[in-house]
Symmetry: C2
Subunit: 550 residues, 2 copies
């Protein structure tokens, strides 16, 4: 029996549910702070109890295995690896097991996700490596695997890292609970490479539980987001999180792949800057030796300087800092910006359509190359596959206003889109054009920054665009004003003092190609693509006004 | 005649040389601040004089061209591009001219780098686009190109952007001063797309002058580094700088390409952190709402957390911040770190050799794929091609000490390498092994941080390594301690209070694979590879204790 089972699952669940769904007590009223503290204390006690039980069991197992044991050399704790051996061993990852021959012997290193004994002679382990899991059995026999060895395996603390030698076996029935379902492993030797010395704050099973199961059974243990983020190193181990961050890396790779092919140059612009852009609102201040400096809110000025310096086409993937005190599902104080800027010869649509195709390149290749990861994430957080067209759909702002008015929304011609109206528009466009992704062109001039190029043919409008995914904005961009005199004129008519942006204006005094660009929030794209509901799930170690740790 | 020629080149040079080599007056004594200011003022006056002369000449030209001119429709100023046309014009870049057919007509957009008239009927322009230049001629004829048009072309302010239609012609002799030497362009029409409205602070010729020419003629105008950095948007336009930043982008691309193929996952770790690592020295402080935070000096803790979270192999390319008041040729307060971390099965050499091969992948592909850029940079900053071996050379620290002692250097077995000794060692290794790149393994434990894994077979040494390029360190790495108990032990014996690194120690309590990694400074690699002598030349907008602008 699992030693932690001495505490009933129900007891733990009750506590956890109360703790996690922090708002309501048994009377349906929100719990007081004191009551919450008491609950936390009880939970701590419970954990301590669990830990003690586990330690006792381990000690007992150790004693037993010190008796004469014919399997003694087939299990145990490896000494800490200090790089003393080079044996040319062929290791197999659990993923590659799918191609292993039934009957062959393999060497695998993986985490013990769970262990479950069935009697004294057999023990089931679920082993995990990244986004892959496999069922593994230790079955006692008369000469190589003893009951002590079975017990040892069963008592390995969850999340310890083990090295096993095992035979590849076809199970009687597919193992549905594991990602490798057509094969299982029968363990010959098992050594703990790195032991989890503390009981983990939540189990991987709880942390990976599909959202749909809570609908069926609301009493199931739910690991809430703050608990996850407080223990991020454990939380990131779930197959779901491993998959989310593979998708994140893939989006960056596909972004660069598309742009590298088109001869963009990757740049690295400074993040510590001397002047707070746009009047100093929402900017983090830095002590810089005896002076003050600020953290860059956007690489835009630098991207444009690179265009003025004849780099032609540039992109940057880098952190962006916003000192906004917003505590919402979609704001962070530090996020990764995917920024690009490109000089063009005739029309900013050269740039806008290129960015549109860039997104379609990303979406279609995620589907093609990352179906395994998407499936893993889908198990826990189900979502509808993204609908998108082969060529990016473009609508004009005017059309959007008409569509919204047809749907009963009241708005002025030159009003900006509210978040609510963006959502409504997303639904209308999806129904009408069968796509979750589209580009909205020609925004009203008044709702865009001073550096936006006005549309000469449509007074009151501008050569600017936003891109939308599932009804939320993921990118904002425009043709920028490349003529310093005209820029100064626009600065003044927007009521900005030209002296506050003198360096910016001056950068265009030495001739500059017409250019356009845009900026994308990496985490937001991933949140919307995977429909994860909270941007913190798409950031390794998210930062918001209240969170700076870990 | 060039209108700016009304001021003698010598006059300008004398002033410039005095200003740039700021230290000495005509008496060989350092100039007083007052004298310097006076010089600056004179320089300003001179620039004003030049500008006025240019304006007058332009006006005169404009007047002349307003007379009946049969070429009037073939030149002039284009209106500011506001994206009104989509003509499907086929534009050619200067680079692609190399493959153009002699006699064909091409459309090109480029900068006017210089213009030089020869009489009233002909004008030579050097046109530039990125790292490519081509000679272009406007030659008056009887029906399509007038003398006014020649004059107009000659008077286009340097660095203006023009669009031309031209015929591809084989010149009588190769044009050595341009990168496209086997072809030249005979211009049919020329329009200024974006005019340089201010005279540039230094000419592209001065800014691109080969270092070797100053040896032959020390009176030549030299643009010093601070002047360059103050006017970085102009400075970055030189073919040399365009090439340097293509190399920079290439290093990042090759780094990722190598690691992506080996299934590394790209990560993005936070740059705003709650606690100052390593006691708070050299850390920038940030105001974070009502609290204080710090800028990350290294992603190491986060890379290791990702290993503990089963990401297996990770890398990050991101800014790193160091509040060190060092004003040297090789220190910046913000630079780009190429960081990687990898779990291994048996021996940290799996990681060390992988990093060694990574560098060789980068060096050899730079040579293969960027020979044009390297040649461009070499013209201005000559350097010997890097010598490196097919397989990375590995030396042990002990061997290095022996080699240094043989060369007469006195040092203890466990002393760290001084910068001077690194250089000497670089020379010895180059002579003995014919390579500028090598790995130094097994550093003394005492000179490495507490998290470094000791070498169990060689007391006093550790499983750590530095990599060297042309005698300077470019990467530092090690096997890290993955066992929390042992880590705590080492923390204590290094005299560090474990409570100050509690979170770090705790991250390894839940089992962690053995792992190793390292961190590379992007700009330092490029400075040494290209032998540029100052790290600021390899950063778009460098930051040091004294420089926060632009």
């Amino acid at each position: 029996m699992d030693p932690t089972d001495t505490i009933s699952k129900t007891e733990e669940n009750d506590l956890s549910v109360a703790l996690e769904n922090v708002v309501l007590g048994p009377d349906g009223q929100p719990l007081s702070k004191k009551a919450l503290k008491k609950l936390e204390k009880e939970k701590e006690k419970l954990l301590l109890k669990q830990r003690r039980a586990a330690e006792l069991a381990a000690e007992k197992a150790a004693k037993e295995s010190s008796q004469v044991d014919y399997a003694a050399s087939n299990y145990g704790y490896s000494p800490m690896n200090q790089s003393t051996e080079k044996t040319n061993t062929e290791w197999l990852s659990i993923r590659d097991l799918a191609n292993a021959t039934v009957g062959s012997s393999v060497i695998v290193q993986a985490r013990v996700q769970t262990s479950r004994p069935t009697g004294a002679r057999m023990c089931f382990l679920v082993l995990r490596d990244g986004t892959y899991t496999v069922q593994s059995l230790v079955i006692a026999n008369k000469d190589t695997i003893s009951k002590q060895m079975v017990k040892f395996a069963d008592n390995i603390p969850a999340e310890s890292l083990v090295k096993i030698v095992a035979k590849v076996v076809k199970p009687d029935e597919p193992v549905k609970s594991c990602t490798i379902s057509e094969l299982e492993l029968h363990i010959d030797t098992i050594f703990v490479v790195s032991k989890a010395t503390e009981t983990i704050p939540f189990s991987m099973e709880d942390a990976t539980r599909p959202q749909t199961e809570f609908i069926k059974d609301p009493t199931l243990v739910k690991v809430n987001l703050d608990t996850r983020l407080d223990n991020r190193v454990i939380d990131l181990r779930t197959t779901t999180n491993n998959a989310i961050f593979k998708i994140q890396a893939a989006v960056c790779r596909l972004f660069r792949e598309f742009l590298d092919k088109r001869e963009f140059i990757e740049i690295h612009s400074p993040k510590i800057i001397s002047a707070a852009s746009e009047g100093g609102a929402n900017v983090f201040k830095v002590s810089y030796f005896k002076k003050s400096a600020y953290l860059a809110q956007s690489p835009q000025f630098y991207k444009q300087m690179c265009i003025a310096a004849d780099f032609g086409k540039v992109y940057e993937i880098a952190p962006v800092f916003r000192a906004e005190d917003s505590n919402t599902h979609r704001h962070m104080t530090e996020y990764i910006g995917l920024d690009l800027e490109m000089s063009f010869k005739e029309h900013y649509h050269e740039v806008m359509y290129l960015i549109g195709e860039l997104f379609i390149h990303i979406f279609s290749n995620l589907e093609k190359q990352y179906s395994h990861e998407i499936e893993i994430i889908n198990r826990q957080y189900p979502f509808e596959p993204l609908k998108f067209t082969d060529k990016p759909l473009k609508l004009d702002f005017k059309d959007a206003v008409s569509l919204l008015r047809e749907a009963g929304v009241e708005m002025g011609d030159h009003d900006d889109l509210s978040t609510a109206n963006e959502r409504i528009l997303g639904k209308i466009v999806r129904e009408k054009y069968d796509t979750d992704f589209y580009m909205l062109d020609k925004f009203p001039l008044a709702v865009r920054p001073f550096y936006t190029m006005p549309d000469p043919n449509n007074p009151g409008y501008s050569n600017s665009y936003d891109f939308f995914l599932r009804g939320e904005e993921i990118m904002s961009g425009a043709q920028r004003i490349h003529d310093s005199n005209f820029l100064e004129e626009r600065v003044k008519s927007c009521g900005v003092d030209p002296e506050t942006v003198r360096d910016y204006i001056n950068a265009f005094k030495y001739g500059c190609s017409p250019h356009a660009g845009g900026g994308v929030g990496l985490e937001r794209v991933i949140m919307l693509y995977l429909n994860l509901g909270n941007i913190r799930r798409t950031s390794l170690f998210p930062r918001d006004p209240r969170r700076l740790d870990p």
